[in-house]
Amino acid sequence: MTSADTSPRLAGSATPKAKPDFRLPSETGVVVALAVLVGLLGWLHRPFLEPANLLVLVEQAALPGIAAIGMVFVLAIREIDLSVGAVFHLAAVAAAVLIAAGTDPWLSVLAGIALGTCIGLVNGLLAQALRVPVIAVTLGSWWMADGLSSVIGKGQAITPPAGDGSFFSTLSGKAFGMVPASVAIFVLLAAALQIVLHRTRFGYRAQATGSNPEAAAHAGIATATVRLTALALMGAVAGLAGVIHLGAQGTIAPADGNGFALFAITAALLGGTRLSGGHGSVVGAAIGALVIQVVLNGMALLGIGSAWASFAVGALLVAALAADRIGRIWRSHRAERRQAGKRG
């Protein structure tokens, strides 16, 4: 490394790199973790590897996974949305109430998603107008959305009549005869949003805004619009998850959606998205959601009490954070060494 650059370089000449640095994609860690966990559980408990079980697992991960995908965009702009779970719930409740009142199910579902989008927009507008972080605003809107859905639902589960219409049968059905509809949506959405984040102008702007908001604004990026879009996207995605839940389960119970924000943040961080903003991986977040679900299922299969479930998610979160931090220290260390090497 140190001997590479002894020949004098012309100032300004673009020096071709002798050997491009090989950089692991940011999703490597989470893929390895998933493989190791699945392998370990399969070895400890053979039935775990049965396709039926694995499909159930993916289906369980799909809804919080969708929320995690949206959270990647919020984290990428260096914000945190606490209201995800409440928005999920409120969208489902609103759709359920509309269906029960006789509205066309598909229309009700659109209304639910639109409601989620609106809450996201309002979060963004308030944060902008009050000049406070999104986390603060969503602390307030979490309370409000939570209260609203329990008032609308009167604190009880709502089961709208399935009746006619294709909504419930579609969402509780399976694509290709085996893949649950929610899983299909989850996978498609993850692929689409991965492209949006890394290959579109909006994705570029979101990453720039999160990386250094002041520098981004100074380069003429309309950071306010970027923030609003990202938060509206989060709201829409949370609403979508809510109505899928309603369609697949046929009912929405008071506790559904609790802890979604935490699940989503943890999954996103596991997948290589950084808290410090600017970097996100949608695919990583989707895999991160699978990792969490594998841990939860594995514990149940091995007979470890469900009391430890929350312990495990908490420990995973802290571990992911510590890994992120240590990784950053290591990277800056390496960059410094490279600098020193260049001079020497």
Partner: protein
């Protein structure tokens, strides 16, 4: 002239908005249901106020230094569980159990502080993880069932913490005095002591504080320990008063406590905090929870009001701040 500027100053204070809100709340509830101000109801409000209030006081200092603690709700549930488990299994006396519970809580605070200051992970997420870890542990100890508690009547510990007596028609718990004492002490610490100046400096501009020789990390770790110990103490007081120790108690308290602090005018971003405001914030939310039921609104709507108050107060503070800046 002098008088005018005094009024102006009063209005510009961050505590003014919450004070008005509290008065309005009291008048409205009282107007709709006169029972609201009955001695029994007032005693009731005060009894509940103390337990969340103790946590909110410590949280005010922590948030002034620019950090959060979300693990307080789970410590509120965990500490009494630990104390009663130790006592019931005959390992320790009740007092010793309390002491051990407080020490464990202090360790939890220390770990929070270590992760935040040494690994530089945002406290919001560290303590969110800790919330789950502590709650999981509480559930594990108890298998998820409420702990059998021994009626604490007569124990000197119970008397000191939650002994009750009547002042006229009002039933007062000893814990109220603990709360008032803590509010006064912490209020003085925040505004009048050197530690308080450290806290405000650490939250306002941590690098500048370091450059002046303030040990920002130590201040923060100390406050994490304080908030954990206060949450644990509040949990024990609550369990002694109700003679119950439920591993699930305290769920969601963290957000309510933060709401109280924010409503009182402490900045979420650190640097500015007020204990008087927090006390008002505590009263606003407790009065709201109590009054809403008394005037016949379904209790489920409570959360909507909290959310609205949080957003409204944030709007007010941001407006005041901007007007203040525009005036210069």
């Amino acid at each position: 002239m002098e008088n005018h500027s005094f009024v102006q100053r009063l209005i510009a204070r961050p505590e003014f908005g919450p004070l008005v809100l509290l008065v309005v709340e009291l008048v409205v509830f009282w107007g709709i249901n006169p029972d609201f101000l009955s001695p029994q109801n007032i005693s009731n409000i005060l009894a509940f106020t103390v337990e969340l209030g103790l946590i909110a006081l410590a949280m005010t200092l922590l948030m002034t230094s620019g950090e959060f603690d979300l693990s307080v709700g789970s410590l509120f549930g965990f500490s009494p569980v630990l104390m009663w488990t130790l006592f019931n299994s005959g390992v320790t006396s009740l007092e010793m159990g309390l002491l051990i519970a407080l020490i464990v809580a202090a360790l939890v605070g220390l770990v929070n502080g270590w992760f935040v200051t040494q690994l530089k992970i945002p406290s919001f997420l560290v303590t969110l993880g800790m919330l789950l870890v502590v709650r999981g542990t509480a559930l594990f100890i108890t298998d998820g069932f409420p702990q059998r508690t021994w009626s604490a009547e007569g124990s000197w510990l119970a008397n000191i913490l939650v002994g009750d007596f009547y002042v006229g028609p009002f039933r007062i718990y000893a814990s109220l005095f603990w709360f008032i004492g803590a509010a006064i002490v912490l209020g003085y610490v925040l505004t009048q002591s050197r530690t308080g100046n450290w806290i405000q400096a650490a939250g306002g501009n941590p690098n500048a504080a370091r450059a002046r020789g303030v040990n920002v990390n130590r201040v923060k770790v100390g406050l994490f320990i304080l908030s954990a110990v206060m949450a644990s103490l509040a949990g024990v007081i609550s369990s002694l008063r109700t003679s119950a120790a439920n591993p699930n108690s305290g769920t969601g308290y963290e957000l309510e406590v933060i709401a109280m602090v924010v409503i009182g005018g402490t900045a979420l971003t650190g640097g500015r905090g007020t204990i008087i405001g927090t006390v008002l914030g505590i009263l606003i939310l407790r009065v709201m929870r109590n009054g809403i039921v008394l005037i016949g609104v379904p209790g489920l709507a409570y959360n909507i009001f909290i959310g609205a108050i949080i957003l409204g107060m944030m709007a007010l503070h941001s407006w005041l701040e901007r007007r203040h800046q525009a005036g210069t």
